[in-house]
Amino acid sequence: MEIITMAQQNNGVSSAVTHTQPLWLLAEVTYRCPMHCAFCYNPTDYDKHTQNELTTDQWIQALRDARKLGAIQLGISGGEPLLRDDIEDIVIEAKKLGYYSNLITSGVGLTEQRIQALKDGGLDHIQLSMHDITEDINNFITNTKTFQLKQKVAAMIKSHGYPMVLNVVIHRYNIGHMKEILEMAEALGADYIELANTQYYGWSLINRSQLMPTKEQVDEAEAITNTFRANPNNKMKIFFVVPDYYSDRPKKCMNGWGEVFMIVTANGDVLPCHSARSLPNMQFPNVRDADLGWCWKESPAFTKYRGDSWMKEPCSSCSEKENDLGGCRCQAFLLTGDADVADPVCSKSPYRHLIDKAIEDAKNPVFSEQPIVFRNDKNSKRVIAGELKDRLDEFHSLP
């Protein structure tokens, strides 16, 4: 028996997975979004990809091709997927093909009419992002006024008989409310909650010093979560995504490069992980002109970091290399400038000091009190124009 979960956890994830087929297809159908979350992992240059989205027919073809390869869990994500008016058509096709489909949404745009159409079309579940128990922090971190809306949408999801799956990204501003967040989720009737400690990619990397909680806060949050789990009256399943900076071993990112996940982005790029395009000198195939089977099995993008043959020391001779496959390639590159080295989270990495420095920086008001750069079109255009470079460069140890 192999139990495979989507949340990146260091427990409960089978290590026996092989790359014979993708199991998860994540369709990032648009990068347009009404939310402006400070921790968004979408690419900071997403504005380049908002004008050339795949058509409905192209998505349907991608769904068919991925299903043939073996993909079975489908995440429909973004941006905010509901900004497209063809999600209902995509869901109908997904049902026909036998996917277990999941709409990953902020809730903005989910009306009674649309949720009914999605239900009729065969959507299996909806994952709603929540941010805090307080309106202030919800509205601050998302740079929107969506607190009331999310409460309403949660009730709507429940009333339509869907499993209630909540995703809460955890950061400095809400980590102190862990107990109250869990109680809120229980009160809303949640079946699952994912407590996703912020991982630092895309916008969250720019805002790292502003978002990172302290070690003490993380330990307390984990203790509260464990107490909640241990109470037999609490039926909700909790996924706790580990905050890797406070760990001394890296996460097995994406369950291994090209092992389980296949991501198709708004413009059709086929990626082994959400932030793979941040890596230098890599060409990613696109569904408009490449066969998905080739993408998965043979494309240089998917084979480059699959398995362990790419590893250098200290990974290549490490007795734990099977457990974490050297960690995250994007994190290695973003922090060290070299995508082939051990994830600097690892205590065996010669670059571990970069993580320790990040933790120290987050306590330093010089960094942590800088204004947050919210995810929005204007800031994305600034990134594309080469602005905010000072903010990005501080993460590299490049000479």
Binding site: E2, M6, I72, Y100, D124
Partner: protein
């Protein structure tokens, strides 16, 4: 929760879970939000027999009749029920 499996119990798939054959994997799977379970061999045979009416005893008897040469499958079957109930994949009817 008391997870002791009685032979007279009837189990079915928990809400929001789906059981299906996966051609690409050549095995049965249980699908649920955020995850899946690959059911190898016997486990799939157990799940396949849960039609909302069959008792645990019926499943054991049917599997013993179907696989007369298998050794001690009874404890494996009960073990499968215990695991599936503890993981929340099955609910009692």
């Amino acid at each position: 929760m008391d997870n002791k499996i009685e032979y007279t119990d009837v189990y079915t798939l928990a809400h929001h879970h789906r059981f299906q054959w996966e051609e690409a994997q050549q095995n049965y799977v249980i699908l649920f939000p955020e995850g899946m379970v690959k059911l190898h061999g016997g486990a799939g045979e157990v799940l396949k027999r849960l039609d909302g009416k069959a008792t645990v005893g019926d499943v054991v008897a049917d599997l013993k009749a179907t696989f007369p040469d298998a050794d001690d499958i009874e404890s494996d079957i009960i073990g499968m029920f215990e695991l599936a109930v503890s993981k929340g994949w099955l609910r009692k009817v």
